[in-house]
């Protein structure tokens, strides 16, 4: 059970993982488009900003690709194994499936205006909004941790890397991917 939750890649990788991962991404994108939820970063979820419907389908793809590219480059550089791009891409796609639960939790969060001043006014006039946001924020944390654990295990297995080399190259990849995805998404919208 623990293996299936944190390292399903022991059994599923390559094309199968890619198809499953893209399936969950599509499902998340449908929910996001209905609820104006944005996956606007590798580990980011925000609600409220209006955007064309195609945008909700592009965002998770950008997030995923921004992570896959540095992971594959680091994997190729550090691993002695003959690693395959399809394994890094497939397992990284499947590793994002807990983000679907994050999106579902975000559905429960109140719709806030995009303007910062208006957000402050809303929170001041409705104190329960802040409480609601805090509770959802706390509930989201385990799912984000779960996603990160899955992403690391996906990378470790598909690149056959363990120890400090795997940890540091993974952290560097996530940081690069977070910056890259933010820049790309903000330049498109």
């Amino acid at each position: 059970m623990k293996t299936w939750l944190f390292n399903p890649f022991k059994f599923i990788a390559g094309n199968r993982a890619l198809l499953l991962g893209i399936g969950v991404m599509l499902l998340s994108a449908i929910v996001c488009s209905l609820e104006t939820i944005h996956l606007d970063g590798v580990l980011d979820v925000h609600k409220g900003r209006e955007a064309p419907s195609y945008f909700y389908f592009i965002e998770p793809l950008i997030d995923w690709l921004c992570l896959v590219i540095p992971l594959y480059i680091f994997g190729k550089s550090f691993s002695v194994s003959a690693i395959r791009f399809i394994d890094v891409a497939g397992t990284s796609a499947l590793a994002r499936y807990p983000m679907f639960f994050v999106v579902l939790l975000c559905m429960l969060s109140p719709n806030l205006p995009t303007d910062e001043q208006k957000i402050l006014n809303t929170i001041q006039t409705n104190p329960h909004v802040l409480m609601q946001l805090t509770v959802i924020g706390i509930l989201v944390i385990p799912f984000i941790v779960w996603t990160v654990a899955l992403m690391y295990n996906a990378y470790s297995l598909s690149a056959n890397l363990k120890g400090p080399k795997a940890v540091w190259s993974f952290i560097a990849s996530v940081v690069i991917a977070e910056i890259l995805s933010k820049v790309i998404i903000n330049s498109i919208i």
Partner: protein
Amino acid sequence: MLKKLPHLCPSCSSPLNVKSLSCGSCHTEVTGEFELPPLARLESADRQFIVDFVKSSGSLKLMAEKMKLSYPTVRNMLDDIITRLNEIEKPLKPSK
């Protein structure tokens, strides 16, 4: 009961050598000092993996299907065996 071939000394953990061999048919015995081949020094699970790998014509994809594991998992298992073999072979290589 399936007997495991010991390859490490239980006292000092050094590699064990073969001192005597006997014919199961005529009971002739040969004694001497023979080194175990590197493959025989591997754990039985690793040796079984190599046998299965050869029987699968060296196809990791086929191995993964048979073992119901993903391709990178099986490839990592093979790479780990290669690492262990290299470590076993190290002290066996003649020094220049």
